[in-house]
Amino acid sequence: MDPVTRRRSGRGGLWLALLAAAALALPLVVSNRFAIDVFIRVLLFAFIGVAWNLMGGYAKQLSLGHAAYFGLGAYTSTILLIRFGVSPWIGIVAGGVVAMAASLPIGALCFRLRGPYFAIATIATAQVLMLVFLKLRDLAWGAEGTTLPNLGNAPLMMQFDGKAPYYYIALALLAIGLAVTYGIERSWMGYYLIAVGEDEDAAEAIGVNALRVKRQIYLISAFLTALAGTFYVQYIYFIDPNTAFSFNVSVEAALVSIVGGIGTLWGPVVGTVLLEASSALLQSWLGGGHGGVQLTVYSLILIAVILWRPTGLIGVLASAYARVVPAGRAQAGEAPRDG
């Protein structure tokens, strides 16, 4: 490891510690339930974005069907909870495993396609799963969905009185997602993923089995997304096919990564903070009556990023950092692109 890298990671560690401390202290300082709710949504969608970014950002496989895994995670844990009395703590892992299993046939179908065709095929997979769960009346409550039994304060069943515990679970999920991404970035897999994302044919010429790499990252991405699904239904106490397989989840996962910085460790986090914060602020200023405004702002932010900063906000922050700290390198956070 070269000295520049070592110095950079040392400084990064300090920032990370400060950030973690702030994130951990937040619920102690902020008691407003609406604010905590916004924070939980930010953490959750940042986590989904991180999961999406592994495949969509690094390997540039632009999936618009990650709701499939979100929904499978949500339904698996809920069915296990209500039908079999299994704790969601087990259900959350089971949901991840189900999502991994589902990603294999879905990947086998979709990875034959490239570019926009791949994206369209993934949309279809999530929609098909939604239709399947609409029809599964006996096992999965059909179109009406179901509320989750309220067990009061039952930490072993992932149910809590206050919002703070949910906040910490979401924070832990995000930390797991970031740690997984960090580990992959700094392993052979990070290099292979970026190589596949940049030029699949050229990658195969130097011995990269592109299909296998895509399949492997899809497994990981699906697993993580499913964790978010379980957490979400445990948080809102309700599940139906439209919520679980919502196209919004798929879009949001892609959007936060693109706005924040595709294929970067912190991109989805930065993107979610901006998008969710702006939408929450708009909601509180305008009330619920102006649904279109929030979407308009979303679209404007997306257009602005794509027009002026295709590398996302992380690119803006990195170059600003490089200007402020002359020794700092603009490529901070881009380790796998360099040796």
């Binding site: 290099y191 970026i194 044919d201 195969e204 130097i206 011995g207």
Partner: protein, 267 residues
């Protein structure tokens, strides 16, 4: 210059010195009505440098794509180091020791030079530290060390070609297939590239090179295979080829220019 540990050095050769590295037999490929490659046969001995030449559209790049698994041939066989390659995927063929470059360099643009080449080195060992070391050897071999941390998209044409070669070398190949690495280079750069190919050959690497720059071919290749309309029309030493009537008619022209048609030939 540090030693580049190519497999030819790493493993003592079990085969006799003049074993065949590559044997192409009756290779054929059609694209619709176009017979891009027709009944092509040639072989390359271990350690030899062979050039594939011919006019644009003669089937040179198609032959490369057939050998390296990017196209599936309609008929024929490709045997490299004793193993049939037809039906294998490009990454398997690379793992078997055949590395190629592309006619138009295809670097991973947002990766640095070092990361590009490391990606190649990771084929043989998944440890980053070792890959970094191997990559640095390959980078220094092609003379790109000064640009190690430059994103590949910012390189000049010749440096992108060097990068392609370094990336291919990092996979520790036994046979290197170079597709027009000298197209578009100026005379001084061609001399550098010729020297580089010469050094690779000295290290015992078997090389198949597609090239239009006759001056370069004459300098690096011991044997030439001439293609026209997908068929082999001649094979022999450079001296034999430049005297061959059919080759002169089909490709060289009388009194061939030293840098004949350096443009990109898409076969």
């Amino acid at each position: 210059m540090r030693a580049l540990s190519l497999p030819a050095e790493r493993k003592p050769a079990k085969r006799p010195a003049m074993a065949e590295a590559l044997v192409v037999r009756n290779l054929s490929k059609r694209f619709g009505g176009l017979r891009a490659v027709r009944d092509l046969s040639f072989s390359v001995d271990e350690g030899e440098t062979v050039a594939l030449i011919g006019p644009n559209g003669a089937g040179k790049t198609t032959s490369f794509n057939l050998i390296t698994g990017y196209h599936r041939c309609d008929a024929g066989s490709v045997v490299a180091f004793g193993r049939e390659l037809v039906g294998l995927r490009p990454y398997d063929i690379c793992a078997h020791g055949l590395a190629r470059t592309f006619q138009v360099a295809r670097p991973f643009g947002k990766m640095t030079v070092l990361a590009n080449v490391m990606t190649g080195a990771l084929l043989r060992d998944k440890t980053l530290a070792l890959a970094r070391e191997k990559a640095r050897e390959a980078i220094s071999f092609v003379g790109l060390s000064a640009r190690e941390h430059v994103p590949a998209r910012d390189l000049t044409t010749i440096d992108q070609r060097r990068l392609e070669m370094a990336r291919a070398l990092a996979t520790a190949p036994r046979l290197l297939l170079l597709d027009e690495v000298m197209a578009g280079l100026n005379p001084a750069e061609i001399d550098q590239a010729v020297a580089l190919v010469g050094r690779l050959s000295e290290r015992g690497l078997t090389i198949v090179i597609v090239e239009h720059v006759m001056r370069a071919i004459m300098a690096v290749a011991r044997r030439l295979v001439v293609l026209d309309h997908g068929q082999k029309i001649a094979e022999g030493s450079p001296a034999e080829i430049v005297a061959n009537e059919e080759v002169i008619r089909a490709y060289l022209g009388t009194g061939y220019a030293p840098a004949a048609s350096p443009g990109g030939a898409r076969c």
